[in-house]
Symmetry: C2
């Protein structure tokens, strides 16, 4: 794509509601690019992330004011809003992506966004999905270290899933270790592990790594969407 490689992160707000707790401590740093996909533009602004770019079809959110840096796509398109957002980040030279508001709503969107993490891997980039009760990343032929308590605090479960046919996995520093194990995408063996001190996960193949905890929120994602729309000044649909 020719763009200079950027050391900052591309922070992408998708259409689902995002509250302070979903950031898992994330703040905007110098060098970061913040993109709002569809209604995510207003969420990013409300949370103080001053979005650099608004992107999407704006079929389910109002169009930002014309002064905003806008990239409007037709509603009838092949790409999800999330893919449009990561493509915009990739084109600008970013290789680290943090995606917010990409889970917790329609399950098909969540599955699509997990596949988007894999899409990033295949382009030499790395992405993560964040929400208050879940953190997810896809790794490919590499090693990831996760210390106990990272992102979600104590008591989170660590789970690994092969994302293609098979992935050879070595997992140490956990309650149930694996040694060069052929993890299959047709058998969920790697669910609900516990990190002892620091987990070290090596994948030969494509591996979805998740930290999850029992849901803490006292209201549903539907409710959160309604509240978020209200805060953003959008009307109910």
């Amino acid at each position: 794509m020719g763009a200079e490689v950027k050391s900052g992160r591309c922070i992408l707000f998708c259409g689902r509601p995002v509250e302070e707790a979903d950031l898992l401590g994330l703040t905007r740093q110098p060098g970061d690019l913040v993109i709002g996909a569809d209604g995510g533009f207003f969420t990013a602004r409300r949370l103080g992330f001053s979005p650099d770019l608004a992107i999407g079809d704006f079929d389910s959110a109002p169009m930002p004011e014309p002064e905003a840096n806008l990239e409007v796509h037709p509603a009838h398109k092949d790409e999800t809003d999330c893919i449009l957002g990561v493509d915009a980040g990739l084109a600008r030279g970013f290789t680290r992506f943090i995606i917010l508001g990409g889970t917790g709503g329609r399950l098909d969107h969540t599955v699509a966004n997990l596949q988007t993490l894999r899409y990033l891997c295949e382009r030499g980039a790395r992405g993560e999905l964040r929400e208050r009760d879940c953190w997810a990343q896809v790794i490919q032929d590499e090693t990831l270290e996760l210390r106990r308590g990272a992102y979600l605090g104590e008591g989170a479960y660590l789970s690994l899933f092969a994302m293609s046919g098979e992935c050879r996995v070595t997992e140490t520093g956990v309650e149930y270790p694996l040694e060069d194990y052929p993890l299959s995408g047709a058998y969920p063996l790697g669910v609900s592990n516990h990190i002892r001190d620091t987990a070290r996960i090596t994948a030969q193949g494509t591996l979805l790594v998740m930290l999850c905890r029992e849901c803490m929120s006292s209201f549903s994602s539907c409710e959160r969407r309604k509240r978020s729309k209200k805060k953003n000044g959008q009307s109910e649909q």
Copy 2:
């Protein structure tokens, strides 16, 4: 496994809360086998499904009374409760599985249960996951027909995802048809389609087929779990 092939369905209640609306019209028919995994035993009973078997480690739900047909597993095990349930059904000769309460909670559990649908496919069986806003099935080298309005009523979105490396897909009877398209698990192209009359989906490879609609529930899965536990006479944890 040697068991005679059964024509009925294995209806499996997992640990997540299930309400009437999540059944999508399902009722128990003669020949069906009903299994409750962990707390799912009480859910099945509450919804009038008279479970034939209780299975699991019962680490997060009370043990059913000793008169129940019980299969108790250690809490420290490799298998998820859902896998234990489908294994019990497979061993009894069932090839059609309907899984309830397998989505809507921790996202790692949901991903595990989507992989369980693939596990069933690889054993010559077929499974589906149901909840009020989502219906999911995995197909492998076969054709599936879905009429408009099936399971979720009008307005549901149809989405397809390659579950292994690549899956060749032909999709007709929809707004955005595909013709022998090499769908990749690293690019979510098949999201949010609409069925015109009857969708006909042919997969060469392993394909996740989902029907989803915007969430209708007015309270969260956390809330539902609390209510469900209260109804089942279980104490809060």
